[in-house]
Amino acid sequence: MRGLGLVLSNLKRRKLRTALTMLCIFVAFVLFGLLCALKEAFTAGVTVAGADRLIVRHKVSLIMLLPVTYGPRMEQVPGVSAAMHFTWFNGIYQNEPKNFFATMPVTPERFLDMYPEYVLPDDQKKVWMEKRAGAIVGRTLAERFNWKIGDRVPLTSPIWPHKSGGAWEFEIVGVYDGAMKGTDTSGFYFRYDYFDEGRAQGEGMVGWYGVRVNDPDHADAVARAIDAEFANSPYETKAEPEGAFAQGFVQQIGNVSTMLIAILSAVFFTILLVAGTTMAQAVRERTAEIGVLKAVGFGNGRVLGLVLAESLVMTAAGGMTGLGAAWLFTAQGSPVPAMLPVFYLPTDALIVGVGMVLALGFAAGLLPALSAMRLPVAVALRKHV
């Protein structure tokens, strides 16, 4: 665009003021990016949850166990296509409780079949079937401890001590990736048969079941049928959709989102005032120059465009670098993997961010640009440059 040189020169006129305004905008957009990543981190578990899966747990409490024999019985219930059990193992690495991550014994084929969002290469899958002490870990977790395939990893468990009295020995045989960006890849899964023969007590008992239903629309009916199946047994169950499993949370997540939106609105309102004031000052102190531009034949539209372009360049320089910085930061992975395993800046948040940068530039420049446009040339020229 012709006149871009003039726009840039004008921005350089008050370097400190321009730099400070850009810095404000930069900080606002870094904040925007990080808060979006945070919001994603809170909601990922809920949005990723499969609509066709139920969680079946002990009716009384999640920490009470169910028999492993319930699995085949659940699969007999009409509408159920598969049932997979989980047990909270609470593995601790290097005797350091801070080294926390989800560890669970599972049945490999069932597990991989039922959770297609965990992607494991076929050859690694084969090895896992062969090695009883084999474990697979998510990409994030593998990177966190720099584990490679073939590494031997000893874990201890306060819940499930090994019969031998020593640590549980595992061999990393696979590293799985998430099929989607929001998939949690911070888990550690190992074989149930290895677990069951090694544990000192509780043989034949598992924590809870994940159940896949044929038709998500009938998930509620299937859940009721499962509970009916085990009613009046020593281990009564409570089945509910996986998404609702996080329901206690969902309410809070709603609050988190509302809070983030409130913070961001306040930040953007402030930034709009800062950028708008800068542009208004820039135009006011340049009245005579705008007069000169008009006198030599710059039309009102061009003058409007020059001021808007200046505002857009200023906000874009601050805002785009801010978004870039937020993106770079989140691309390093979660700063607190134990608390927020899923941490990234979603592409749609980035697009919204770019839209907001443009909207900010436009909004901040509009009034000053209109006043510059309306300024009568003869009046403007009566001021001195």
Binding site: S9, K12, V292, V296, G297, N300, V377, L381, V385
Partner: protein, 232 residues
Amino acid sequence: MSERNGALVHIERVNKTFRRGAEEIHILSQLNLEVPQGEFLALMGPSGSGKTTLLNLIGGLDRPTSGSVRIGGDSIDQMSNRRLAAWRARHIGLVFQFYNLLPVLTAERNVELPLLLTGLSSAQRRRHVEAALSVVGLTHRAKHYPRTLSGGEQQRTGIARAIVTDPTLLLCDEPTGDLDRKSGDEILALLQALNREHGKTIIMVTHDPHASARATRTVYLDKGRLSSEKPE
């Protein structure tokens, strides 16, 4: 670009009134003026008599309250703002008392400014800028910013900007008003050369009899009217 009677500027029964609160101030009343092609006209008159106002009407920077302003056959008082801006870009070169250069641009960029509105390529624009700067004798200062130029050099940059589009009419509002005698004389000599050698029609407002002596004709504005005699 010439009228039947040969006049380039043709002003007829022009009135200009400003409003200051409830009060109406009549600055120009029933004013007539003809400026033939190729003239170097000096416009004199006491401060506040309306010289700048008249120049603004001729340059299409302002509109008369009534009456007609025709420049080279164009009735500019009838034009829309948009057409008027384009017309100014083609036909008018303006020189100001305080130069009115943009401080953020170098001399050559200031001179280039009016050319941004034309369809010229950047190479063509550079050639025009060089030509204009060499006419005013400022080629060696092309890359300087206004604040590093003397008053006379700034005014020569201003003149280069005014002539770079080869306008029909050059309007100068006290071009030597802020300069010392020597620099002022150089500017006047330059304007005179533009008039004589390049055939530019020039209207120059001045308070300085020394300056008006360079012109081919002098008119006096007083109490809203023009006369060729210096009023008492």
